[in-house]
Symmetry: C2
Amino acid sequence: MSSAKTDGLRRQVLDAAVAIAATSGPDVISMREVARLAGVSHQAPYHHFGDRAGIFAAISEEGFRLLANAIEASTTLGMAAMCEAYVHFALAHKGHFRVMMRNDLCSLEDYPSALIQADRAFNALRNEVTVILGEDSHEDEANAHTAYMWSVAHGLATLLLDGPLLKKLGSVADINALIRNVARKASSSITV
Amino acid sequence: MSSAKTDGLRRQVLDAAVAIAATSGPDVISMREVARLAGVSHQAPYHHFGDRAGIFAAISEEGFRLLANAIEASTTLGMAAMCEAYVHFALAHKGHFRVMMRNDLCSLEDYPSALIQADRAFNALRNEVTVILGEDSHEDEANAHTAYMWSVAHGLATLLLDGPLLKKLGSVADINALIRNVARKASSSITV
DNA sequence: TTCTCCACTAGACACTGTCAAGTATGAATA
DNA sequence: TATTCATACTTGACAGTGTCTAGTGGAGAA
């Protein structure tokens, strides 16, 4: 049971943490700072999250839920669309994505409810690969194709978010066009 | 000018930091801890690195130098080999790689000597792409292909290093075979 | 000898995460 | 109504951190 005020603080802390992660990165998130931003004592957040890793776990769960939703919604549109959905999620939810992909901040295995959401996202990709390859394909090939698609999407997302890709490429008029182009290349090499 | 003893401490600190990054991640690296490991006072490392970011910059420069060497050495072997070289570098130099790809630890632009090494690696990839596409290809296509190859390599490297890829895939008998398979898929879609 | 770097030490400061203990409030129970 | 009790906090303390400032010892040059 949790009162309105409780959920209020929990939400405030979460939102503050996600915002900090989006602008300055997750490492800058501090228990005392989020408490300060919420206007409560430095120990108040502990009541809702246990410790610092608990905040990261809560952000991860929320992020993986959103990611799984986005990916599942794109399955009917094919492999390229899933890849695009992954990258667009990362760009649209910078704060969440940065936390989700940092296993050192909180190891997912310790937070089963977050792990469930992560599995939803993975299974959607995995299923789509087996559908395309056919049920009777070898497991090694399914593994390789899954790893391949995930690598493209994840690599592009992280390079766009925190990497020097855009800076190095120099002139990129339309990022969405670049994402679509890369996603199409990836999916074409899987159907062939 | 730097004495043997000076370089000794600098090396010791760097090695300790890389080792910590490889086992526990860069965030665990502490000025006081590396000083303790080297058997000097908590302020000694400041003389060589200025501040904490300076250690990360030194690790980055060293890492990018090694990466550029590996990639340049693989250019004659083709696109797939470059992709494999990138992933193998990440696995073989876990500590370096983790630091290099974390722009929040030290922004490369503030450390020109590190930036030079990073550019060496990027240019090797970029050149190979233009060689394959031909000099007269459109810049957008060259950009997309470069982003694409980099994404595959970087995505696979990060997923293998810190991501849940292997855990999720379940049974992967031979990691090197998986890397080779993914690299071949990537390079095949660029030559077609 | 004196001067002056160089590599390092020592102490302090503000900041952090977290443990332990106290307090106000509202609901349930006797 | 009076008492109990859990919830949602506050306050205070502690060890650990990065880093600023101020020393210290020793080697080479004048």
